[in-house]
């Protein structure tokens, strides 16, 4: 043993016979170059262990991924077969083998929603969102669930997150974002949040290319949101590009109709070839309105009186449907009427009794004032009956629309 190795490395005192320092009682065993040989062997073992583990784990992961894909495919299949409960099982098993596969997890939430387990779907999505808060798809799914649960503000928050979030590059992120904006706007329109919807639609208009096909969808939403002017402007822009664009023509007709420009609407509808069921229904409505309008430009004196008589008859029938007792009204017993506002009904009864003697072709001829009064009576009677008196006939609807055109929406 050399002199150096005979001394303790800590206190430099001589070591005892057992190789331990008597002074500081520390084990002074020193690892020399000879001791490094096992360490080199140890390094070799680690390298070999690493290689072996890598090989085994590689095979294992391959197997796991294959099983994950197999169960995922089975899940998709059962989803297509409308068996969401089985799909949930399949997707859950797929996730056991591919624990962090986002696609599998999103599909699982779809299956959960389809099977009615919205609570679990929401919990899964929220957990997913905690991991990837910027994931637009996740936010969109949460927004849909919140919308389903009537949590409007939450839904809007997640829709906004989806719009601002990160979309997968596999699809077209711009298009996906626009689709999310449309969905959010549609939801707002559906919820009757006109101002928020308008802001959302304006933002959407800002990002949509001028002549893109989505413009029509935007115009439809404007129309549904009660902004026919903007809708019409978009449809007209579309027609500027293609005058034979039937969808744009019909849209323009609808927008004009909504704006109360019935004549314009009818003009657009006449340009539409071929007619669709929807356009036909609208045209019939407009024609019915014209058929009841004594002040239409096409109406001659005779037609005008005929239309007035028809309108009076429709209004009386409508009020009769409300059980307004005209005879009793005259006998001062209107208070027994089965209506919520007896005085109102009593007024209509009196008004009807006053007009009734004038209601023949001869007396109406040249009496525009009586025609005007009859129309006002009919409009007000229809409006009053609208709230309380059951289902509308097509003629009642036509009269209400005419009322809107003549008297405005506020009255």
């Amino acid at each position: 043993m050399s002199e150096e190795s005979a001394n303790c490395t800590i206190c430099r005192q001589p070591l005892g016979e057992n190789g331990r320092c008597q002074h500081c009682d520390e084990d002074a065993h020193i690892w020399t170059i000879q001791d490094w040989r096992p360490l080199l062997n140890l390094s070799l073992i680690i390298v070999l262990g690493f290689s072996f583990t890598r090989l085994v784990v590689g095979i294992f992961h391959e197997k796991q991924n294959a099983l994950g894909a197999q169960y995922y495919a089975a899940g998709l299949q059962t989803m297509e077969e409308k068996r969401p409960a089985q799909a949930v099982d399949a997707f859950e098993t797929a996730l056991v083998y591919s624990h962090d596969n986002a696609q599998y997890r999103l599909k699982l939430t779809d299956a959960l929603v389809a099977s009615g387990a919205t609570g679990e779907a929401m919990a899964q999505l929220q957990a997913f969102r905690e991991q990837r808060p910027q994931d637009a798809e996740v936010n969109l799914k949460i927004a849909r669930l919140e919308a389903q649960r009537q949590q409007v503000d939450q839904a809007l928050r997640y829709y906004q997150n989806a719009v601002d979030g990160v979309w997968p590059e596999s699809g077209d992120p711009v298009q996906q974002r626009i689709a999310a904006r449309f969905e959010a706007a549609e939801y707002l329109v559906g919820q009757g949040r006109q101002e928020q919807a308008e802001a959302s639609l304006l933002a959407l208009a800002g990002v949509l290319p001028l002549y893109s096909p989505e413009q029509r969808k935007l115009a439809d939403l404007y129309l549904r949101n009660g902004d026919p002017a903007r809708a019409l402007s978009i449809y007209l822009t579309q027609l500027g590009v293609n005058k034979k664009d039937n969808a744009a023509i019909f849209g323009a007709a609808q927008a004009s109709f909504a704006a109360g420009s019935y004549a314009t609407a009818l003009r657009y509808l006449e340009e539409l070839k071929p007619e669709t069921a929807e356009s036909q229904a609208l045209r019939l409505q407009l024609e019915r309105m014209e058929a009841l309008d004594p002040f239409a430009p096409s109406a001659t004196g005779k037609i005008r009186t005929e239309r007035t008589l028809a309108v009076f008859r429709i209004a009386i029938q409508r009020l009769a449907g409300c059980e307004v007792p005209f005879a009793q009204a005259l006998a001062n017993s209107a208070k027994t009427a089965n209506a919520k506002d007896p005085e109102q009904w009593s007024g209509f009864a009196k008004w009807a009794e006053q007009l009734s003697p004038m209601m023949n072709e001869r007396k109406l001829r040249g009496r525009d004032d009586v025609i005007e009064s009859t129309m006002r009576f009919a409009f007000q009677a229809e409006r009053a009956a609208q709230k309380n008196c059951g289902k509308l006939t097509l003629n009642d609807e036509a009269l209400l629309l005419l009322a809107r055109e003549r008297m405005g929406a506020s009255q």
């Binding site: 490395t9 065993h29 690892w31 360490l39 690493f50 583990t53 784990v57 099983l67 919990a123 957990a127």
Partner: protein
């Protein structure tokens, strides 16, 4: 032809033929020699070795997890809900095979592995046979993979300890280091299995080592971290389950968590008592029945699994689902109860496998059940099921395994969310207190005593009050002698007391002891200072130091000074061996519990 060794020697001599070359070789030899540049002391080497242990244990645990998953797929199929024949037959037949192998070839692999590792540390000087490691690996993988209600963590702990032990023996570590190397490997194994290094370190300290030891802490931490790095390298850094985010919305929620703590405490008591009573009874049955017990347990578990497949294996995939509202509260409660029963069956029949995972599983199900019930009763609370499941895990961990610190840190580490700490502490404490109040001996201590071993536990040590110097010291009779005063003056002081020894203050906190005989020796000049009579200094003590420290310092010395920490020349009292022994006798340490051994 000359032998190879001779040829090498001749070549070396030839190389060293010139003085310059000889000098160069001499320098090289010195550099590589014992005090050279690349030589290190064993304690330094131990830290390097801890990393190697962590890496190797990490490999083993990764392979162990792969083996369990592969066995599961081979035996039970890849579906989460295996077919009825498989569910019934596989655990039964696998149980029979396991029993034969365990009884005939691997008798030391039965049980969880925690106590076996502890036994290696305290009884066998860190020795865990390679055969045990292999047996534990194979049989545990087979048991868990075939659906026995056990988990992989505790076996991983023992496998890690076994790897470390084998490595230590191969590297011819000293006996002291070899003993310490087992817990280092245990921490690595547990950390890799649970993917949580802090939890593993704390558990090993609380349950295996049984005490905080600075000497080994560094190595334990290093090995745990390196094994987790290996585990994440191969298996990814995904946690065992995705934990929903949590924030305490209202302080009133804490009451609800307290309810969970009570439920957890009661469930812990049921579980521990079931094992306490059933295990010894099963072990007392005839030897031939040992071959059947795991098979019968497997059959019963299989029957349960026909309706509730969640009870099979570790069940982490189901914990994840339970955390995300997969099951209604009553189903969660039923699953928790059946899992408890299944785990008791698997464990008491001696099937190799761990308790960690089943305990967490039961906790998660109970937590989820309580949460969903509260959701129904108090819809305005907005009770988060995931958070309750997580806290429930901690509650059962604290109640059953009785490792309170580990239970808290485990939840924090698994969730990565520190805002949950308050509910966790409340819930775990209640559960721990209930378990502690009605079941004196912790589960692992109970098991070791049933096995005829008496291993130390941190919980018992905590109960024992620490005796301090102030409990033993007595005041000095008169003042201490001063080093600078004359021998004549010191003699006059000694005349006023009957003491045989006197403390001498040498200034600056240095003290010595002088015998009456030396002081009164007529050969000494009376005008000389007392300092000249002093031979050696003695260590000083402080009031708050433990008597264990005092006993180590005192050796053959008649007494030691107890001084003020702020003024080390100020004598507070003295302590002698007799004082220390008197204090120990007076304290009367609690005797070990014997009533529990049945």
């Amino acid at each position: 032809m000359k032998p190879r060794s001779v040829r090498s020697r001749e070549a070396l001599l030839k190389l060293m033929a010139t003085p310059v070359r000889r000098k160069y070789f001499e320098t090289l030899r010195r550099m590589l020699g014992p005090a050279g540049l690349i030589s290190i002391r064993e304690e330094q080497f131990f830290l390097v070795l801890a990393i190697a242990i962590g890496v190797l244990a990490g490999f083993c645990v990764v392979l162990f997890r792969v083996a369990i998953a592969t066995a599961r797929i081979w035996l039970l199929g890849s579906s989460m809900r295996p077919s009825v024949p498989r569910v019934v037959l596989v655990p039964t037949l696998a149980g029979l095979v396991i029993a034969v192998l365990a009884v005939r070839f691997f008798p030391r692999v039965r049980g969880s592995g925690v106590n076996q590792t502890k036994g290696a540390l305290y009884i066998y000087d860190g020795y865990i046979s390679t055969e045990t490691v292999v047996g534990k690996f194979v049989l545990s993988a087979l048991a868990i993979g075939s659906g026995q209600s056990l988990g992989p963590e505790d076996p991983a702990l023992q496998i890690g300890a076994g790897v470390a032990s084998a490595l230590g023996r191969w590297l011819k570590l000293s006996k002291e280091r070899l003993r310490l190397v087992a817990p280092v490997g245990a921490a690595a194994g547990l950390a890799a299995a649970f993917n949580a290094p802090i939890t593993a370190v704390l558990f090993v300290i609380e349950e295996v080592i049984g005490r905080w030891s600075a000497g080994i802490l560094g190595a334990v931490v290093l090995s745990a971290i390196s094994s987790v790095v290996v585990e994440r390298w191969f298996m990814g850094d995904e946690s065992l389950f995705r934990v929903p985010q949590y924030h305490l919305a209202h302080a009133g929620e804490l009451i609800a968590y307290a309810v969970l703590g009570v439920v957890g405490g009661v469930a812990s008591l049921v579980f521990v008592n079931a094992i306490k009573h059933l295990r010894p009874r099963l072990r007392r049955l005839p030897q031939w029945s040992q071959y059947l017990q795991p098979g019968v347990a497997g059959l019963l578990i299989g029957v349960i699994a026909i309706w509730y497949p969640q009870v099979m294996g570790a069940g982490y995939e189901w914990i994840d689902l339970a955390m995300h509202n997969r099951f209604p509260w009553e189903v969660l409660g039923i699953i928790a109860g059946l899992k408890l029963l299944s785990t008791v069956l698997s464990f008491t029949t001696g099937t190799p496998g761990g308790l960690f995972a089943p305990v967490l599983f039961m906790g998660a199900m109970l937590g989820g059940s309580v949460a969903m019930l509260e959701q129904q009763l108090f819809p305005s609370f907005g009770v988060p099921v995931g958070a309750y499941a997580l806290v429930g895990m901690g509650a059962l961990f604290a109640g059953i395994l009785r490792a309170p610190m580990t239970s808290v840190f485990m939840v924090l580490e698994v969730s990565g969310n520190y805002s949950i700490i308050l509910p966790v502490i409340i819930c775990n404490t209640i559960s721990y207190v209930i378990s502690r109040g009605f079941q004196e001996v912790p589960l692992f201590d109970l098991l070791s005593r049933q096995d005829g071993l008496d291993l130390p536990s941190l919980e018992e040590e905590r109960e024992q009050s620490i005796l301090r110097v102030e409990d033993a010291m007595h005041p000095t009779m008169g003042r201490a002698l001063l080093g600078d005063e004359s021998i004549a003056s010191a003699r006059s002081i000694s005349g006023s007391t009957p003491e045989e020894y006197f403390l001498v203050s040498l200034g600056e906190g240095r003290w010595s002891v002088l015998s009456r005989e030396s002081l009164l020796d007529p050969a000494n000049d009376e005008n000389m200072p007392v300092r000249v009579l002093v031979r050696a200094r003695v260590p000083r003590l402080h009031l708050d130091q433990s008597l264990d420290v005092a006993l180590r310092f005192i050796k053959d010395r008649p007494m030691l000074p107890v001084v003020h920490r702020g003024n080390m020349d100020l004598l507070m009292g003295v302590v002698s061996v007799e004082d220390i022994l008197r204090a120990y006798r007076k304290a009367g340490l609690a005797e070990p519990e014997t009533a529990e051994v049945s």
